[in-house]
């Protein structure tokens, strides 16, 4: 009898586990966003407000994994790389339909990739610059001929700009030029993604409904997504967004100010989540010998830049600005970026900073300035903290507050000494951030003017290195060289703070920032 009871209990336990494991279907999720999307075209968009939700509408050939470091099958079930690394063969998934019911074909894939790699189109074509031609080998195989072996290509094929659009419907959109067609198409996008845009009141709300033709299956064997509908509400004010969440009018809200995280963590109805991110915050420095006005630039001396790094108490800044929720930076890239290699050094050390300044000939002190975006609380806090910290080694920091467009104009003109800056990766590969931070030819190494021939040589090599282990070793060297040259003041890497009601399950914001709703369910 005892044994029978025990078996029965086990059976019940197993049964309930199964019941609770299956996600609940249906329901509408209301999600508070801080800003609305602008342009839902995968190729021509330019902003995170688009990039971070676009993969709910369109699919890519491969998809990013939830840790943001790898890829998994998407519209392509598998891919094969030739021995010389210059041919990339993709097998397309059978039976995939667009949200309007038409079937996905190899033509759509060729059209979308050709459009994405066109150098005249948008800001992202550089991510797939290695693709020479796209050929349809047979109805479900597409072959990419590469100019050179490209280890970042799988990640690029999982990035928003290579999402697949329906060729016929796109070309049938109003307008003569690609740009005009994209504008018309993006008002009512057609994709193979889990959701379809059904209503959009710009600046106010956006409604996505379940795509009935979606190809991927859930844990119950039926088609995803679980939700019937997502309603995005645009609530720019942080306090209002949180109040709406607390009162139950929202099921989730993004960009919770870090100052409010501890309070929301205590709320029994909420699940305050800090998703790992690729965000890195730093102060970039002008490394050129002369400033724009022709005067000598003390920051061109590596010892001064290193001294400022030693005089920066990262832990104190993390406490002050992020309420202890960030991690100190140990490289220019975040620990969520593939091939990250933590560096050692720049521990808070005033004596070391003073020595370095003395060696650089600034033992009597010096004056520097930094630009911040006016009204930005985080940047103000960072700059004020640095002002105080650096004053202890005789460095006087002037803070210039400028509105974001003026700030950017001076940055682009290299007319600055320092600038508080934030970065997130768009692709699960270290080449993007390295290309911008450390390589001169793109944007003059984030306009710092930093240029290191040895680093650039290693980067060139890493761009064609198929072996992951060898590539990792090259990236260790790149990060070491950059860290020692200190073109920036390293600060911290911060998470994405999202607050959800406890009954919301399966939502992920991956380190690249993409909001993934395909597995989200409301368990109430």
């Amino acid at each position: 009898m005892k044994r029978f009871v025990a078996y029965a209990l086990i059976a019940v336990a197993i049964a309930t586990t199964f019941v609770s494991a299956a996600s609940k279907r249906g329901g509408k999720m209301t999600y508070g966003r801080y800003a609305d999307s602008l342009f839902l075209d995968p190729v021509l968009n330019d902003a995170n407000v688009d990039i971070w939700i676009i993969l709910n509408l369109y699919d890519t050939l491969l998809q990013p994994t939830n840790d943001g470091k790898g890829t998994k099958p998407g519209l392509a079930t598998r891919y094969r790389v030739s021995g010389d690394g210059k041919t990339f063969t993709l097998t397309l998934r059978n039976g995939v339909k667009f949200s309007d019911g038409s079937s996905l074909s190899a033509n759509d894939v060729k059209f979308s990739l050709d459009r994405a790699k066109n150098p005249d189109n948008g800001a992202w074509n550089g991510l797939i610059a290695s693709i020479e031609t796209v050929t349809i080998t047979n109805p479900n195989t597409v072959t990419l001929a590469l100019k050179y072996p490209d280890p970042s290509l799988p990640a690029a094929l999982a990035t928003f700009n290579t999402a697949i659009l329906p060729q016929k419907q796109f070309l049938a959109s109003a307008g003569a030029k690609d740009q005009d067609k994209a504008k018309a198409f993006a008002e009512k996008p057609i994709g193979t993604g889990p959701f379809v845009l059904t209503d959009w009141k710009k600046g106010s709300s956006m409604t996505l409904k379940r795509n009935p033709n979606y190809w991927n299956k859930g844990d119950d064997g039926a088609a995803l997504p679980y939700l019937d509908e997502i309603n995005f509400q645009i609530i720019p004010d942080d306090n209002t967004r949180i109040l709406k969440l607390q009162s139950g009018e929202l099921d989730g809200a993004e960009f919770i100010p870090l100052a409010r995280v501890a309070e929301l963590q205590k709320d029994p109805k909420l699940n305050m989540t800090l998703f790992p991110s690729t965000e890195v915050d730093s102060v970039i420095m002008n490394n050129r010998p002369k400033l724009k006005d022709g005067s000598d630039n003390p920051l061109s001396n590596v010892k001064v830049r290193q001294a400022l790094n030693y005089a920066t108490d990262k832990d104190a800044i993390i406490k002050l600005v992020t309420f202890g929720l960030a991690k100190p930076s140990k490289s220019f890239m975040s620990s969520a970026t593939p091939l990250y290699a933590a560096q050692h050094g720049y521990m808070y050390n005033l004596e070391k900073a003073k020595t370095l300044l003395k060696q650089a000939g600034f033992d009597k002190g010096l004056e520097v300035s930094t630009m911040i975006v006016a009204g930005n609380a985080d940047q103000t806090a960072i700059a004020s903290a640095l002002q105080q910290m650096w004053s202890q080694v005789g460095v006087k920091l002037r803070i210039d507050q400028l509105d974001s467009a003026s700030n950017r104009a001076k940055y682009r003109a290299n007319d600055f000494m320092m600038r508080v800056s934030k970065w997130t990766d768009d692709i699960a590969d270290p080449s993007e951030i390295t290309g911008y931070f450390a390589i001169f030819k793109n944007v003059e190494s984030l306009h710092t003017g930093f240029q290191n021939d040895q680093l650039e040589g290693i980067f060139e090599q890493s761009q064609r290195e198929p072996s992951r282990a060898k590539r990792a070793s090259l990236y260790r060297s790149i990060q070491k060289i950059y860290f020692d040259a200190a073109p920036i003041v390293f600060l911290y890497e911060a998470p994405y703070p999202v607050a959800l009601q406890k009954y919301v399950k399966g939502f992920v914001q991956i380190p690249l920032g993409n909001n993934i709703f395909v597995n989200t369910s409301l368990e109430k």
Partner: protein
């Protein structure tokens, strides 16, 4: 000059103002540092990308040519497309302007409904506890920033007592009334305070005048005296003040719309300025210029109605 020619004259006077505003806004937004192309392309744009973007937007042409294009399009009823939102500016204004107008009108109505009766009570009960309480309340209205009042109303009436929704605009007319009650109150409270201070003083002054004594001596009912003689004479300067402050209401709407997540033009204007979205800034400024001018004309007309001595010169 009769009433109609007065109105027509006032409307005609607006036209040159409009053209000055048009030229001013066009050149002033371009004097600001920064440009729309690098604002949309962001930090990662290369020089080549910026140049291509400028060419596509026609921003590589000389300023005077761009101005010609702007004026030319304007007379064809085309305000251009928003650079950031990729939709026609005219459509944006048509979508968003009614929301802001509803909010400011609602706020004005609430302000008048608050200010008129309370000024009477305060004036008639001069220097009593009630007078001090009313004046004290409005002093708070004058000195407290709009966003703070808004946030407090939201926290208490919205989140704690659940009497009103937190933010949003609603779908139907009655939903608008319900959704916009807190924002309109927030916005109207400050205006009510300004009106109330002026109206109370005016009522006190009129109450002292001889014709009011005379009306009392005739034995007229006090409601008639207050309604017909006192209010009409006291309200004249307040009407002018009200008209002048409508422009301020639109300014306050920028903050209110942001706190209450209302999709009006206030928020759009701020975003467009930060994004250097020239066509939207131009379109909105011109619309505001028309609205403010119309308000002034309306104020003058009402003023002329109330006070027959007012004439156009």
């Amino acid at each position: 000059m009769n009433r109609w020619s007065y109105i027509i004259m006032r409307v005609l006077q607006v036209i040159p103002t409009f053209f000055v505003v048009m030229a001013l806004v066009f050149f002033m937004v371009r004097l600001l540092p920064g440009d729309p192309t690098s604002a949309i392309l962001g930090e990662r744009a290369t020089e080549a990308m910026i140049a291509r973007g400028n060419k596509e937007l026609g921003l590589d042409k000389p300023l005077i040519v761009q101005f010609g294009v702007f004026v030319g399009h304007f007379f064809q009823g085309d305000l251009g497309d928003s650079i950031n939102l990729k939709v026609p500016v005219f459509r944006l204004i048509l979508e968003r302007m009614p929301v802001t107008l509803f909010l400011t009108l609602y706020a004005s109505v609430l302000a008048v409904l608050l200010a008129v009766p309370l000024s009477f009570v305060a004036a008639l009960r001069r220097d009593t506890g009630i007078d001090s309480a009313i004046r004290g309340m409005f002093q708070i209205g004058l000195s407290m920033p709009v966003f703070y009042i808004g946030l407090q109303l939201l926290t208490i009436l919205g989140a704690r007592w659940r009497l009103f929704p937190i933010g949003g605009y609603g779908e139907t007319f009655f939903e608008h009334l319900w959704y916009l009650f807190l924002p309109a109150l927030t916005l109207g409270f400050n205006l009510a305070a300004i009106l109330m201070r002026n109206l109370r003083a005016a009522i006190l002054e009129v109450l002292q005048s001889e014709y009011v004594d005379f009306a009392r001596a005739k034995g007229l009912r006090s409601s008639l005296i207050l309604g017909k003689h006192v209010l009409r004479n006291a309200v004249i300067s307040t009407v002018t003040l009200f008209g002048l402050n409508i422009g301020g209401l639109i300014g306050g709407a920028v903050i209110t719309e942001s706190v209450f997540a209302i999709p009006g033009v206030g928020r759009l204007m701020v975003d467009s300025i930060f994004g250097r979205d020239y066509p939207v800034i131009q379109g909105l400024t011109l619309t505001f210029a028309v609205l403010v001018s119309l308000t002034f004309i309306l104020t003058d007309i009402v003023h002329a109605q109330l006070d027959p001595r007012v004439e156009v010169t």
